[in-house]
Symmetry: C2
Subunit: 173 residues, 2 copies
């Protein structure tokens, strides 16, 4: 993300989000001076016993909280239209992704949608990498002491990494 004079900014923060109604993974990264730091990562969970609107409200409020905590320069959110899923699951995911996009908009943080295949290509040079391969790639890029888990967190960190590289923040050499 260049500054006004077209020079790369020293530090760029990205919040990766893997949206889901049951579990939304997130990972916040800061890139600067050729290295990347994990600011935080985790999962927002909603209770399946709660009504849909209450679950959406929790996800919306938690997304706002993350945006305020990490102050990202961009939100990298999984682009999902290419994925074939159970229709019900895909539509519910759409509800979740909708309130996440809304929260980013309300805090004026630009959204960058990236497909899972793009993340895989960026991190493993194969658009068809498996879950385990992706987790190991994210672990290696970020120098994590252990594998990022659950897989939603690995996906969110992979999104943030790929997003950073897209905006010229060079999260890896």
């Amino acid at each position: 993300m260049p500054d006004r004079d077209g020079r790369p900014r020293r530090v760029v923060r990205a919040l990766g989000v893997d949206p889901g109604l049951v579990e939304t993974g997130y990972g916040a990264l800061e890139a600067g001076s050729g290295r990347v730091t994990v600011l935080g990562a985790g999962v927002i969970r909603t209770r399946t016993s709660d009504p849909l609107d209450a679950r959406l409200e929790r996800l919306f409020d938690e997304t706002h909280r993350l945006l305020q905590e990490y102050r990202p320069d961009l939100v990298v959110v999984e682009e999902v239209f290419s994925v074939v899923k159970v229709p019900r699951t895909a539509i519910l995911m759409g509800h979740a992704r909708g309130v996440i996009c809304l929260a980013a908009r309300q805090q004026k943080v630009p959204l960058l949608p990236i497909t899972p295949a793009e993340v895989k290509r960026a991190l493993t040079a194969s658009g068809a990498a498996g879950k385990g391969q992706m987790e190991r790639a994210v672990q290696a890029r970020l120098g994590l002491p252990r594998l990022p888990r659950p897989s939603h967190v690995a996906d969110a960190l992979g999104l943030a990494l790929t997003g950073l590289s897209r905006v010229g923040a060079r999260p890896w050499p």
Copy 2:
């Protein structure tokens, strides 16, 4: 919708919403003393040239505005999981429906999801009624001078009517 003593309330207001990212239909009805009045109806449109987050914000803000204008006792929103659609369209509709549900939740208005088939059965005694048949049924029930158009408005009014009958407001004799 009974009051605290279990008696039917004299007047009940329902806002029907047929969610869509391009066009969301709405219709606000008031039921009382055996008759139903149309408080307002229309369509919220978003520009396809705008980014997704901007469109969701507009839909969210407009839904809040409708809730404040009509002060409904319930929001009747189309339940969509049974409908098979183009996956991309269904997922985008999910985004739209998500921010509508969130707005209702934030204003503490109960949500009542009703499937299109239930609306058709309630208004025409057939779960497989066509668009034109539904429009005529809504027109007749509400004594409208002309057919409700576009069809999203007819759908929203049908949802509100069916929702009112479900909560015991007896919108028809």
